[in-house]
Protein backbone atom coordinates (compact mmCIF):
# COMPACT_ATOMS: atom_id res chain seq x y z
CA UNK A 1 0.00 0.00 0.00
CA UNK A 2 1.20 3.50 -0.79
CA UNK A 3 1.72 6.03 2.00
CA UNK A 4 -0.13 9.30 1.59
CA UNK A 5 0.20 12.24 3.94
CA UNK A 6 -2.42 14.81 4.84
CA UNK A 7 -1.01 18.20 5.81
CA UNK A 8 -2.33 18.48 9.36
CA UNK A 9 -1.77 22.10 10.33
CA UNK A 10 -5.45 22.99 10.18
CA UNK A 11 -8.68 22.12 8.36
CA UNK A 12 -10.59 19.00 7.29
CA UNK A 13 -7.76 16.57 8.05
CA UNK A 14 -9.69 13.63 9.57
CA UNK A 15 -12.05 13.39 6.57
CA UNK A 16 -9.15 13.06 4.12
CA UNK A 17 -7.51 10.44 6.31
CA UNK A 18 -10.72 8.39 6.22
CA UNK A 19 -11.03 8.80 2.43
CA UNK A 20 -7.41 7.71 1.87
CA UNK A 21 -7.88 4.63 4.04
CA UNK A 22 -11.15 3.79 2.29
CA UNK A 23 -9.32 4.00 -1.04
CA UNK A 24 -6.83 1.38 0.14
CA UNK A 25 -3.77 3.44 1.07
CA UNK A 26 -2.03 4.30 4.33
CA UNK A 27 -2.76 7.80 5.67
CA UNK A 28 -0.36 9.83 7.78
CA UNK A 29 -1.09 13.22 9.37
CA UNK A 30 1.81 15.55 8.64
CA UNK A 31 2.66 18.22 11.20
CA UNK A 32 6.43 18.41 10.67
CA UNK A 33 8.56 18.71 7.53
CA UNK A 34 10.64 15.57 8.37
CA UNK A 35 7.54 13.43 7.94
CA UNK A 36 7.40 14.23 4.21
CA UNK A 37 10.40 11.95 3.50
CA UNK A 38 8.51 8.74 4.16
CA UNK A 39 5.56 9.67 1.91
CA UNK A 40 4.71 8.82 -1.67
CA UNK A 41 1.88 11.33 -2.07
CA UNK A 42 0.40 14.27 -0.19
CA UNK A 43 -3.02 15.84 0.29
CA UNK A 44 -3.37 19.53 1.08
CA UNK A 45 -6.78 19.65 2.75
CA UNK A 46 -9.51 22.24 2.79
CA UNK A 47 -9.26 24.85 5.53
CA UNK A 48 -8.42 28.53 5.63
CA UNK A 49 -5.83 29.18 2.94
CA UNK A 50 -4.52 32.36 4.61
CA UNK A 51 -3.98 30.50 7.87
CA UNK A 52 -2.37 27.48 6.21
CA UNK A 53 0.03 29.68 4.24
CA UNK A 54 1.14 31.44 7.40
CA UNK A 55 1.60 28.20 9.32
CA UNK A 56 3.58 26.57 6.48
CA UNK A 57 5.89 29.59 6.41
CA UNK A 58 6.24 29.76 10.18
CA UNK A 59 7.06 26.06 10.54
CA UNK A 60 9.63 26.10 7.73
CA UNK A 61 7.65 23.67 5.59
CA UNK A 62 7.72 25.64 2.35
CA UNK A 63 11.05 24.41 0.97
CA UNK A 64 10.45 20.78 1.96
CA UNK A 65 7.04 20.94 0.23
CA UNK A 66 8.61 22.36 -2.94
CA UNK A 67 11.25 19.63 -2.79
CA UNK A 68 8.50 17.02 -2.44
CA UNK A 69 6.97 18.40 -5.65
CA UNK A 70 10.39 18.54 -7.36
CA UNK A 71 10.88 14.84 -6.57
CA UNK A 72 7.90 14.17 -8.82
CA UNK A 73 5.59 13.02 -6.05
CA UNK A 74 1.85 13.61 -6.51
CA UNK A 75 0.01 16.31 -4.53
CA UNK A 76 -3.76 16.74 -4.32
CA UNK A 77 -5.11 20.09 -3.13
CA UNK A 78 -8.74 20.70 -2.24
CA UNK A 79 -10.06 24.27 -1.93
CA UNK A 80 -7.41 25.95 0.27
CA UNK A 81 -5.00 23.24 -0.95
CA UNK A 82 -5.62 24.28 -4.57
CA UNK A 83 -4.73 27.88 -3.65
CA UNK A 84 -1.45 26.67 -2.09
CA UNK A 85 -0.58 24.67 -5.23
CA UNK A 86 -1.37 27.34 -7.84
CA UNK A 87 1.43 29.17 -9.67
CA UNK A 88 -0.61 32.37 -9.46
CA UNK A 89 -3.32 33.63 -7.14
CA UNK A 90 -5.25 36.70 -8.23
CA UNK A 91 -4.67 39.62 -5.86
CA UNK A 92 -1.68 37.94 -4.22
CA UNK A 93 1.79 39.15 -5.23
CA UNK A 94 3.60 35.86 -4.80
CA UNK A 95 2.23 32.34 -5.11
CA UNK A 96 2.59 29.94 -2.23
CA UNK A 97 3.99 26.49 -3.02
CA UNK A 98 3.36 27.58 -6.63
CA UNK A 99 3.89 24.35 -8.57
CA UNK A 100 0.63 23.75 -10.47
CA UNK A 101 0.32 25.62 -13.75
CA UNK A 102 -2.99 27.37 -13.06
CA UNK A 103 -4.19 30.81 -12.02
CA UNK A 104 -6.81 30.75 -9.27
CA UNK A 105 -9.12 33.30 -7.77
CA UNK A 106 -10.05 33.04 -4.08
CA UNK A 107 -13.61 33.23 -2.73
CA UNK A 108 -14.78 33.51 -6.31
CA UNK A 109 -18.33 32.26 -5.68
CA UNK A 110 -18.99 34.78 -2.87
CA UNK A 111 -19.18 34.65 0.90
CA UNK A 112 -20.52 31.79 3.03
CA UNK A 113 -24.22 32.57 2.36
CA UNK A 114 -23.48 31.89 -1.34
CA UNK A 115 -21.77 28.54 -0.66
CA UNK A 116 -23.57 25.64 -2.36
CA UNK A 117 -23.60 22.03 -3.51
CA UNK A 118 -24.25 20.63 -6.98
CA UNK A 119 -23.94 17.23 -8.71
CA UNK A 120 -21.03 17.40 -11.16
CA UNK A 121 -19.91 15.18 -13.99
CA UNK A 122 -16.18 14.57 -13.96
CA UNK A 123 -14.06 13.47 -16.90
CA UNK A 124 -12.61 9.95 -16.47
CA UNK A 125 -14.54 9.48 -13.22
CA UNK A 126 -18.26 9.62 -13.90
CA UNK A 127 -21.49 11.45 -13.25
CA UNK A 128 -23.31 12.89 -10.25
CA UNK A 129 -20.38 13.66 -8.04
CA UNK A 130 -21.72 15.62 -5.03
CA UNK A 131 -19.55 18.73 -5.12
CA UNK A 132 -19.64 21.00 -2.06
CA UNK A 133 -18.33 24.52 -2.64
CA UNK A 134 -17.53 26.52 0.52
CA UNK A 135 -16.20 30.05 0.00
CA UNK A 136 -14.54 28.29 -2.88
CA UNK A 137 -11.82 29.37 -5.30
CA UNK A 138 -11.92 28.54 -9.01
CA UNK A 139 -9.31 28.03 -11.69
CA UNK A 140 -9.32 31.08 -13.97
CA UNK A 141 -6.68 29.97 -16.47
CA UNK A 142 -4.90 26.68 -17.09
CA UNK A 143 -1.44 26.15 -18.61
CA UNK A 144 -0.96 24.18 -21.88
CA UNK A 145 -0.32 20.81 -20.19
CA UNK A 146 -3.21 21.00 -17.74
CA UNK A 147 -6.12 18.64 -18.21
CA UNK A 148 -9.48 20.09 -17.21
CA UNK A 149 -11.56 17.40 -15.46
CA UNK A 150 -14.66 19.36 -14.40
CA UNK A 151 -16.40 22.66 -15.01
CA UNK A 152 -19.22 24.38 -13.22
CA UNK A 153 -21.00 27.45 -14.56
CA UNK A 154 -18.27 27.93 -17.17
CA UNK A 155 -15.49 27.82 -14.56
CA UNK A 156 -12.81 25.17 -14.16
CA UNK A 157 -13.23 23.47 -10.77
CA UNK A 158 -11.10 20.31 -11.07
CA UNK A 159 -7.88 19.94 -13.06
CA UNK A 160 -4.78 17.78 -13.35
CA UNK A 161 -1.32 19.08 -14.18
CA UNK A 162 0.91 15.99 -14.40
CA UNK A 163 1.52 14.95 -10.79
CA UNK A 164 -0.78 17.68 -9.37
CA UNK A 165 -4.52 17.43 -8.87
CA UNK A 166 -6.43 20.56 -7.79
CA UNK A 167 -10.06 20.90 -6.86
CA UNK A 168 -12.28 23.89 -5.87
CA UNK A 169 -14.75 21.85 -3.86
CA UNK A 170 -14.62 19.38 -0.96
CA UNK A 171 -14.82 15.69 -1.88
CA UNK A 172 -13.77 14.94 1.73
CA UNK A 173 -17.14 16.16 3.03
CA UNK A 174 -19.02 13.46 1.12
CA UNK A 175 -19.09 9.68 1.11
CA UNK A 176 -18.15 9.61 -2.59
CA UNK A 177 -14.56 8.34 -2.81
CA UNK A 178 -14.09 8.45 -6.58
CA UNK A 179 -11.74 11.45 -6.66
CA UNK A 180 -9.59 10.09 -3.84
CA UNK A 181 -9.47 6.69 -5.56
CA UNK A 182 -8.26 8.49 -8.70
CA UNK A 183 -5.54 10.28 -6.69
CA UNK A 184 -4.43 7.04 -5.01
CA UNK A 185 -4.00 5.57 -8.51
CA UNK A 186 -1.91 8.60 -9.48
CA UNK A 187 0.31 7.91 -6.45
CA UNK A 188 0.60 4.19 -7.24
CA UNK A 189 1.55 5.04 -10.83
CA UNK A 190 4.14 7.57 -9.70
CA UNK A 191 5.78 5.04 -7.36
CA UNK A 192 6.30 2.72 -10.34
CA UNK A 193 7.63 5.57 -12.49
CA UNK A 194 10.06 6.76 -9.80
CA UNK A 195 11.26 3.15 -9.26
CA UNK A 196 11.79 2.67 -13.01
CA UNK A 197 14.02 5.76 -13.17
CA UNK A 198 16.37 4.43 -10.50
Amino acid sequence: MVKIGVLGLQGAVREHVQAIEAAGAVAIIVKHAEQLKELEGLVLPGGESTTMQRLIDRYGMMEPLRQFAADGKPIFGTCAGLILLAKNVIGQQTPHIGVMDVIVERNSFGRQVDSFEIPLSIKNMGENFPAIFIRAPHIVTVGPNVEVLANYDGRVVLAKDGQFLGCSFHPELTEDQRIMAYFVQMVEQSVLTILAKR
Binding site: G11, R14, R106, V113, S115, E117, F133, I134
Partner: protein, 295 residues
Protein backbone atom coordinates in the same frame (compact mmCIF):
# COMPACT_ATOMS: atom_id res chain seq x y z
CA UNK B 1 -29.49 21.25 -12.40
CA UNK B 2 -29.37 24.34 -10.20
CA UNK B 3 -27.14 24.58 -7.20
CA UNK B 4 -28.45 24.31 -3.63
CA UNK B 5 -27.29 26.81 -1.04
CA UNK B 6 -27.54 26.55 2.75
CA UNK B 7 -27.74 22.74 2.91
CA UNK B 8 -26.57 21.04 6.11
CA UNK B 9 -23.42 19.89 4.32
CA UNK B 10 -22.61 23.42 3.17
CA UNK B 11 -23.30 25.00 6.58
CA UNK B 12 -21.61 22.31 8.68
CA UNK B 13 -18.81 21.96 6.12
CA UNK B 14 -17.82 25.59 6.64
CA UNK B 15 -17.15 24.78 10.32
CA UNK B 16 -15.21 21.63 9.32
CA UNK B 17 -12.78 23.93 7.48
CA UNK B 18 -12.11 25.81 10.73
CA UNK B 19 -10.97 22.71 12.62
CA UNK B 20 -7.65 22.80 14.40
CA UNK B 21 -7.78 26.58 14.28
CA UNK B 22 -8.29 29.59 16.53
CA UNK B 23 -11.17 32.06 16.17
CA UNK B 24 -10.37 35.41 17.76
CA UNK B 25 -12.60 38.18 19.14
CA UNK B 26 -11.77 41.56 17.58
CA UNK B 27 -13.31 44.99 17.96
CA UNK B 28 -11.87 46.82 14.94
CA UNK B 29 -10.02 46.42 11.63
CA UNK B 30 -6.60 46.82 13.20
CA UNK B 31 -7.18 43.93 15.62
CA UNK B 32 -8.67 41.84 12.81
CA UNK B 33 -5.48 42.26 10.78
CA UNK B 34 -3.33 41.28 13.76
CA UNK B 35 -5.49 38.17 14.22
CA UNK B 36 -5.25 37.24 10.53
CA UNK B 37 -1.50 37.80 10.52
CA UNK B 38 -1.15 35.57 13.59
CA UNK B 39 -2.91 32.71 11.77
CA UNK B 40 -6.50 32.93 13.07
CA UNK B 41 -8.95 30.88 10.98
CA UNK B 42 -11.72 33.44 11.53
CA UNK B 43 -12.49 36.53 13.58
CA UNK B 44 -15.52 37.37 15.69
CA UNK B 45 -16.45 41.02 15.22
CA UNK B 46 -17.67 42.58 18.47
CA UNK B 47 -18.24 45.95 20.03
CA UNK B 48 -16.64 44.87 23.31
CA UNK B 49 -14.83 41.71 24.35
CA UNK B 50 -16.58 39.61 27.05
CA UNK B 51 -14.45 40.86 29.97
CA UNK B 52 -15.39 44.45 29.09
CA UNK B 53 -19.05 43.46 28.71
CA UNK B 54 -18.82 41.93 32.17
CA UNK B 55 -17.17 45.06 33.60
CA UNK B 56 -19.55 47.49 31.89
CA UNK B 57 -22.77 45.75 32.91
CA UNK B 58 -26.05 46.87 31.34
CA UNK B 59 -27.51 45.34 28.19
CA UNK B 60 -25.05 43.88 25.67
CA UNK B 61 -26.35 43.83 22.08
CA UNK B 62 -25.25 42.98 18.54
CA UNK B 63 -22.22 45.06 17.48
CA UNK B 64 -22.63 48.29 15.56
CA UNK B 65 -22.91 47.17 11.90
CA UNK B 66 -20.19 49.67 11.04
CA UNK B 67 -17.70 47.64 13.12
CA UNK B 68 -18.78 44.41 11.45
CA UNK B 69 -18.41 45.99 8.01
CA UNK B 70 -15.02 47.43 8.88
CA UNK B 71 -13.77 44.01 9.97
CA UNK B 72 -15.25 42.29 6.91
CA UNK B 73 -13.40 44.61 4.55
CA UNK B 74 -10.13 44.36 6.50
CA UNK B 75 -9.52 40.60 6.25
CA UNK B 76 -9.99 37.71 3.83
CA UNK B 77 -10.60 35.05 6.51
CA UNK B 78 -14.26 34.44 7.51
CA UNK B 79 -15.96 36.94 9.78
CA UNK B 80 -18.39 35.88 12.49
CA UNK B 81 -20.62 38.10 14.62
CA UNK B 82 -22.81 37.64 17.69
CA UNK B 83 -26.58 38.03 17.94
CA UNK B 84 -28.55 37.92 21.18
CA UNK B 85 -30.27 34.62 22.01
CA UNK B 86 -33.67 34.66 20.30
CA UNK B 87 -33.16 38.02 18.59
CA UNK B 88 -34.55 37.25 15.15
CA UNK B 89 -33.88 40.70 13.73
CA UNK B 90 -30.26 41.01 14.89
CA UNK B 91 -29.63 37.65 13.24
CA UNK B 92 -31.39 38.68 10.02
CA UNK B 93 -29.43 41.95 9.94
CA UNK B 94 -26.12 40.11 10.28
CA UNK B 95 -27.21 37.63 7.60
CA UNK B 96 -28.15 40.48 5.27
CA UNK B 97 -24.72 42.02 5.80
CA UNK B 98 -23.13 38.78 4.60
CA UNK B 99 -21.30 37.70 7.75
CA UNK B 100 -20.01 34.14 7.37
CA UNK B 101 -21.23 32.71 10.69
CA UNK B 102 -23.49 33.97 13.50
CA UNK B 103 -22.89 33.12 17.14
CA UNK B 104 -26.23 33.06 18.98
CA UNK B 105 -24.44 33.97 22.14
CA UNK B 106 -25.02 34.03 25.88
CA UNK B 107 -22.25 36.66 26.09
CA UNK B 108 -24.89 39.15 24.96
CA UNK B 109 -28.00 39.80 27.03
CA UNK B 110 -30.71 37.36 25.86
CA UNK B 111 -33.60 38.90 23.91
CA UNK B 112 -35.79 35.85 24.57
CA UNK B 113 -35.58 33.79 27.74
CA UNK B 114 -37.76 31.00 26.40
CA UNK B 115 -36.97 30.44 22.74
CA UNK B 116 -33.72 30.22 20.83
CA UNK B 117 -33.61 31.12 17.13
CA UNK B 118 -34.90 28.64 14.57
CA UNK B 119 -31.53 28.54 12.91
CA UNK B 120 -32.56 26.15 10.14
CA UNK B 121 -34.57 29.07 8.70
CA UNK B 122 -31.45 31.03 7.79
CA UNK B 123 -28.95 30.77 4.94
CA UNK B 124 -26.11 31.81 7.20
CA UNK B 125 -24.81 29.05 9.51
CA UNK B 126 -24.88 29.40 13.31
CA UNK B 127 -22.66 28.41 16.21
CA UNK B 128 -24.18 28.00 19.70
CA UNK B 129 -22.85 27.30 23.17
CA UNK B 130 -23.58 24.13 25.14
CA UNK B 131 -22.79 22.65 28.56
CA UNK B 132 -24.05 19.11 28.02
CA UNK B 133 -25.33 16.81 25.30
CA UNK B 134 -28.98 17.74 25.85
CA UNK B 135 -28.23 21.39 25.20
CA UNK B 136 -25.94 20.49 22.29
CA UNK B 137 -28.56 18.38 20.50
CA UNK B 138 -31.35 20.90 21.16
CA UNK B 139 -29.26 23.54 19.40
CA UNK B 140 -28.51 21.15 16.52
CA UNK B 141 -32.25 20.42 16.39
CA UNK B 142 -32.91 24.14 15.89
CA UNK B 143 -30.37 24.15 13.07
CA UNK B 144 -27.01 25.07 14.64
CA UNK B 145 -24.17 23.93 12.33
CA UNK B 146 -21.38 24.25 14.88
CA UNK B 147 -21.13 24.04 18.67
CA UNK B 148 -18.83 25.45 21.28
CA UNK B 149 -18.57 25.05 25.02
CA UNK B 150 -20.14 27.89 26.95
CA UNK B 151 -17.39 28.00 29.56
CA UNK B 152 -17.62 31.20 31.55
CA UNK B 153 -16.79 34.05 29.15
CA UNK B 154 -14.64 36.99 30.15
CA UNK B 155 -13.25 35.34 33.25
CA UNK B 156 -9.92 34.08 31.98
CA UNK B 157 -10.72 30.93 33.95
CA UNK B 158 -10.74 27.66 32.00
CA UNK B 159 -12.55 25.57 34.63
CA UNK B 160 -16.06 25.87 33.19
CA UNK B 161 -14.99 25.17 29.59
CA UNK B 162 -13.19 22.05 30.87
CA UNK B 163 -16.34 20.96 32.71
CA UNK B 164 -18.46 21.45 29.57
CA UNK B 165 -16.21 19.67 27.07
CA UNK B 166 -15.73 16.73 29.44
CA UNK B 167 -19.46 16.51 30.05
CA UNK B 168 -20.42 16.60 26.37
CA UNK B 169 -17.72 14.13 25.33
CA UNK B 170 -18.51 11.71 28.15
CA UNK B 171 -22.17 11.78 27.16
CA UNK B 172 -21.29 11.27 23.47
CA UNK B 173 -19.20 8.21 24.41
CA UNK B 174 -22.06 6.86 26.49
CA UNK B 175 -24.65 7.34 23.72
CA UNK B 176 -22.27 5.89 21.13
CA UNK B 177 -22.05 2.69 23.16
CA UNK B 178 -25.76 2.30 23.90
CA UNK B 179 -27.97 -0.33 22.31
CA UNK B 180 -30.83 1.07 20.19
CA UNK B 181 -33.47 0.16 22.80
CA UNK B 182 -31.76 2.39 25.38
CA UNK B 183 -31.74 5.56 23.31
CA UNK B 184 -35.30 6.83 23.86
CA UNK B 185 -34.90 6.71 27.64
CA UNK B 186 -31.57 8.53 27.32
CA UNK B 187 -33.29 11.15 25.14
CA UNK B 188 -35.83 11.68 27.90
CA UNK B 189 -33.15 11.97 30.59
CA UNK B 190 -31.01 14.40 28.59
CA UNK B 191 -33.91 16.40 27.14
CA UNK B 192 -32.34 15.59 23.78
CA UNK B 193 -34.14 15.21 20.45
CA UNK B 194 -34.21 11.42 19.83
CA UNK B 195 -33.20 11.63 16.16
CA UNK B 196 -29.85 13.19 17.04
CA UNK B 197 -29.08 10.53 19.63
CA UNK B 198 -29.71 7.98 16.87
CA UNK B 199 -27.26 9.87 14.68
CA UNK B 200 -24.60 10.13 17.41
CA UNK B 201 -25.06 6.42 18.14
CA UNK B 202 -24.48 5.65 14.46
CA UNK B 203 -21.55 8.07 13.91
CA UNK B 204 -19.85 7.58 17.28
CA UNK B 205 -19.40 11.36 17.50
CA UNK B 206 -21.31 14.64 17.31
CA UNK B 207 -22.64 15.40 13.82
CA UNK B 208 -21.13 18.91 13.96
CA UNK B 209 -17.83 20.44 14.99
CA UNK B 210 -17.44 21.40 18.69
CA UNK B 211 -14.98 24.17 19.64
CA UNK B 212 -13.79 25.30 23.05
CA UNK B 213 -14.84 28.74 24.29
CA UNK B 214 -15.29 30.74 27.45
CA UNK B 215 -12.19 31.25 29.58
CA UNK B 216 -9.22 30.38 27.34
CA UNK B 217 -6.50 32.75 28.60
CA UNK B 218 -3.13 31.14 27.78
CA UNK B 219 -1.53 28.94 25.08
CA UNK B 220 -1.57 26.09 27.60
CA UNK B 221 -5.34 26.57 28.08
CA UNK B 222 -5.87 26.30 24.32
CA UNK B 223 -3.73 23.14 24.17
CA UNK B 224 -5.61 21.67 27.15
CA UNK B 225 -8.94 22.08 25.37
CA UNK B 226 -7.54 20.38 22.24
CA UNK B 227 -6.23 17.57 24.43
CA UNK B 228 -9.74 17.14 25.86
CA UNK B 229 -11.15 16.71 22.36
CA UNK B 230 -12.18 20.20 21.22
CA UNK B 231 -12.06 20.65 17.44
CA UNK B 232 -10.62 24.17 17.76
CA UNK B 233 -10.62 27.18 20.04
CA UNK B 234 -12.38 30.52 20.42
CA UNK B 235 -10.35 33.13 22.27
CA UNK B 236 -12.24 36.15 23.49
CA UNK B 237 -10.77 38.57 25.95
CA UNK B 238 -7.42 36.82 26.34
CA UNK B 239 -5.59 38.14 23.27
CA UNK B 240 -6.27 41.84 23.05
CA UNK B 241 -6.25 42.23 26.83
CA UNK B 242 -2.68 40.93 26.93
CA UNK B 243 0.44 43.09 26.80
CA UNK B 244 1.60 42.00 23.34
CA UNK B 245 -1.46 40.86 21.36
CA UNK B 246 0.41 39.92 18.15
CA UNK B 247 2.84 37.65 20.01
CA UNK B 248 0.12 36.27 22.24
CA UNK B 249 -2.16 35.50 19.28
CA UNK B 250 0.64 33.64 17.46
CA UNK B 251 1.42 31.66 20.58
CA UNK B 252 -2.21 30.56 20.96
CA UNK B 253 -2.33 29.45 17.30
CA UNK B 254 0.88 27.43 17.62
CA UNK B 255 -0.23 25.81 20.87
CA UNK B 256 -3.51 24.80 19.21
CA UNK B 257 -1.81 23.22 16.17
CA UNK B 258 0.90 21.48 18.20
CA UNK B 259 -1.07 20.83 21.37
CA UNK B 260 0.97 17.74 22.27
CA UNK B 261 4.36 19.41 21.72
CA UNK B 262 5.05 20.48 25.29
CA UNK B 263 8.58 21.78 24.66
CA UNK B 264 7.18 24.07 22.00
CA UNK B 265 4.41 25.25 24.32
CA UNK B 266 7.05 26.03 26.95
CA UNK B 267 9.04 28.01 24.40
CA UNK B 268 6.13 30.07 23.07
CA UNK B 269 4.77 30.73 26.56
CA UNK B 270 7.93 32.59 27.60
CA UNK B 271 7.68 36.30 28.22
CA UNK B 272 4.18 36.72 26.99
CA UNK B 273 3.67 39.32 29.68
CA UNK B 274 0.90 39.28 32.23
CA UNK B 275 -2.16 37.32 31.08
CA UNK B 276 -5.59 38.65 31.97
CA UNK B 277 -6.14 38.61 35.73
CA UNK B 278 -9.06 36.22 35.72
CA UNK B 279 -11.96 35.61 38.08
CA UNK B 280 -12.42 32.69 40.43
CA UNK B 281 -15.82 31.22 39.48
CA UNK B 282 -17.11 30.82 43.05
CA UNK B 283 -16.62 34.59 43.53
CA UNK B 284 -19.02 35.25 40.68
CA UNK B 285 -22.61 36.00 41.69
CA UNK B 286 -24.94 33.37 40.23
CA UNK B 287 -26.82 36.09 38.33
CA UNK B 288 -23.52 37.15 36.69
CA UNK B 289 -22.87 33.71 35.23
CA UNK B 290 -23.34 34.00 31.47
CA UNK B 291 -23.48 30.23 31.00
CA UNK B 292 -26.88 30.11 32.72
CA UNK B 293 -28.35 32.11 29.85
CA UNK B 294 -30.22 29.97 27.30
CA UNK B 295 -31.23 26.38 28.13
Amino acid sequence: MTNQTATDRVKRGMAEMQKGGVIMDVINAEQAKIAEEAGAVAVMALERVPSDIRAAGGVARMADPRIVEEVMSAVSIPVMAKARIGHIVEARVLEAMGVDYIDESEVLTPADEEYHLLKSDYKVPFVCGCRDLGEATRRIGEGASMLRTKGEPGTGNIVEAVRHIRQVNAQVRKVANMTPDELMTEAKILGAPYEFLLEINRLGRLPVVNFAAGGVATPADAALMMELGADGVFVGSGIFKSENPAKFAKAIVEATTHYKDYKLIAEISKELGVPMKGIEISRLNPQDRMQERGW
